[in-house]
Amino acid sequence: MKLNKLVNILNAKVLAGKDKLDREVEFAFSSDLMSDVLTLNNDKVILLTGLSNIQSIRTAEMADINQLVIVRNKKVSGDMIRLAEENKIVLLSTEKSLFRTSGLLFDKGIKALF
């Protein structure tokens, strides 16, 4: 699925990487635990998380995850947006819960990792 379709499904705001929405996403992983995210070893993954701080972006950077969604309209800082832009990470925000976000994407064919 292209990211711009995913943005529509989640009615998400695009906070960083507006020019990169033609990227393809195949899998999603929902977690607030960054050490767990660091165990992933797949391409085309989107991270869905309620953890809105600089470490969620750092973790994506280290784990080569190129896109993430912050759920429940959690406040996203300017530093997070800057770090995402610097690392060419697409940063999205949705008001939907982690469960609803996961369910909507699963329903549209995004695959689970485990």
């Binding site: 607030d32 635990l33 960054m34 050490s35 767990d36 660091l38 165990t39 998380t49 953890l51 701080n53 600089i54 470490q55 969620s56 750092r58 973790t59 950077e61 280290m62 784990a63 080569d64 530093d79």
Partner: protein, 137 residues
């Protein structure tokens, strides 16, 4: 190539900035992306550990054609029981660390999984020393 980073305990905002710099250097050196990922995940977990538990620390990184060697030296409470600390799920992290998305007792096993050599030596009440090696060839 030798790199050194000073890490400050409790500085969660900058945790990961050393890993980020090392990642861009390894990319410039055209290291295979799988090996870069193994290196930066090990280094990032080590950085987070210093920030989470120690007063301050120093990370020294040696990059050669055959390996990345990471040495972490911190001043802090040390680890009483290293075997226990290495167990999945065991953690002494504070609520603050957990709020940052860490502290679930997975960090040391993440380092072990991503490295080719990992050794911890600690003096309780003084600090901890860790050696991590990722082979490049």
């Amino acid at each position: 190539m030798k790199l050194e980073f000073e890490i400050h305990g409790g500085d969660f905002v900058n945790a990961g900035s050393a890993s980020s710099k090392v990642k861009s250097i390894l990319k410039q050196l055209n290291i295979n992306s799988e090996l870069i990922k193994k290196t930066v995940i090990s280094l990032y977990e080590a950085e987070v550990n210093v920030v989470a538990h120690a007063d301050k620390g120093k990370i020294t990184i040696n990059i050669s054609s055959s390996a990345v060697d990471i040495e972490v030296n911190d001043r802090g409470p040390g680890i009483e029981d290293i075997e226990l600390a290495m167990k999945d799920g065991y953690s002494t992290a504070t609520e603050e660390v957990r709020e940052m998305g860490f502290g679930a007792g997975m960090g040391l096993s993440n380092i072990r999984r991503n490295s080719d050599f990992f050794e911890i030596d600690s003096t309780p009440g003084r600090g901890t020393k860790a050696k991590i090696r990722i082979k490049l060839s």
